[in-house]
Symmetry: C2
Subunit: 258 residues, 2 copies
Amino acid sequence: MATGRTHRPATRSRGIPEATVARLPLYLRALTALSERSVPTVSSEELAAAAGVNSAKLRKDFSYLGSYGTRGVGYDVEYLVYQISRELGLTQDWPVVIVGIGNLGAALANYGGFASRGFRVAALIDADPAMAGKPVAGIPVQHTDELEKIIDDNGVSIGVIATPAGAAQQVCDRLVAAGVTSILNFAPTVLSVPDGVDVRKVDLSIELQILAFHEQRKAGEEAAAAAADGAGPVATTRGESESADKGPDGDVPAVMPA
Amino acid sequence: MATGRTHRPATRSRGIPEATVARLPLYLRALTALSERSVPTVSSEELAAAAGVNSAKLRKDFSYLGSYGTRGVGYDVEYLVYQISRELGLTQDWPVVIVGIGNLGAALANYGGFASRGFRVAALIDADPAMAGKPVAGIPVQHTDELEKIIDDNGVSIGVIATPAGAAQQVCDRLVAAGVTSILNFAPTVLSVPDGVDVRKVDLSIELQILAFHEQRKAGEEAAAAAADGAGPVATTRGESESADKGPDGDVPAVMPA
DNA sequence: AATTGTGAACGAATTCACAGCG
DNA sequence: CGCTGTGAATTCGTTCACAATT
């Protein structure tokens, strides 16, 4: 992107890397905790530790937002909270609907971290007529028939799909047709959506499978190590650490707590 | 990884890229669906479409596992299912414990995709004595006091944390001390673990915040587009398509369905 | 003196494009 | 002839290391 030698990109240049965006919520959470403890400033080192990343990465991330720190001192906690919130669009209100009020949908509806960050559960929707009217987390469940009206009345642009896999695409299509442009999908299916609609996926079984892969690899390495004792040279290279275990550093993905 | 010019990595070389590992479960799901419909073979193009990735990526991914396709024809569905399952370690049984049986823990316990893929819920654990003995998803909840014994008796190496944030690190420490080496964390906290322990994180509020960011960006662009009509030149560069919308392609992260 | 902000080096992941093979 | 498998080119992300700044 050019050397930007001209004057200065004033505030920020636009085009924050996706990887950085994915970490901003992490920083925000750590900062909020500091803010609650009335800590006035943090260094990149401290904040990075709290967020579980390394400090160079954090500084580079912040550099995409602008120059919000003070050399020799660190970052002003309140100010950064505000800047990141604004960057993420959390200074505005985001009404969301949750479709599919089973165990998971109920868990999501009850999740406190929602309201705390600009998100507001505008409605709960389920296809089961028996659910209609029953309150979950204090909000009465509405029937799927009302979906379009609900989206429209509340100006909802973010939808959460917590239905069984079979119903997901259909629900998705209706959400999109009704005007939703961001979807968080908990159903184990690939959703197809038109351009301009964002989908993020959260899939337990995939995460477990990834863990199983690493778990298996560990077991294999132990075996190799044991074998190395008893007998001659083992083919595997080991000792190179494989680059894969990365320490306690968080990974790429992420989504949702109790 | 050196050029590996020596002889040949025989089956596979070791060191499958992390990004590839994260996609294998996706391919596996698509393949399983095909298998159930008794489809005998697929081309990289078809399978890629079903998994929501592009075909070059899929072929490159498979190339790390070995040469399991047939040129001019495609891939044998059953054979690939087996190879990927084996690679992911799903041909063995993985007992898991779920700690924290609130709404979310219950949702996880009830999640069917578990058993289907080598995972078996060995126990449900909760700190609330009132929960003890109550069956959830047909499995009686046990008290946290039993944690170490349960891990040990069942040879559990994978733990799922679905507790409130405040309890997560403590639970984590106990799991690790008891021998768990892979953790799936649903609590909104950064866990610190010793080397050799893998942690994956699933965090709803983070995913929503990422969606909000993109949602906001869309709104901004609309506004900019509208503004471009009315008045003079706008500062922002636009038209460069920003690289960020990537189309309907899935994103990086992932985790869990109803 | 301490800590940010950032070019530059590096490494990982994706995409291209085509040779190789069935 | 069609489709896989893969080097080479490219893009994206991380880390290094240090000059700039308070």
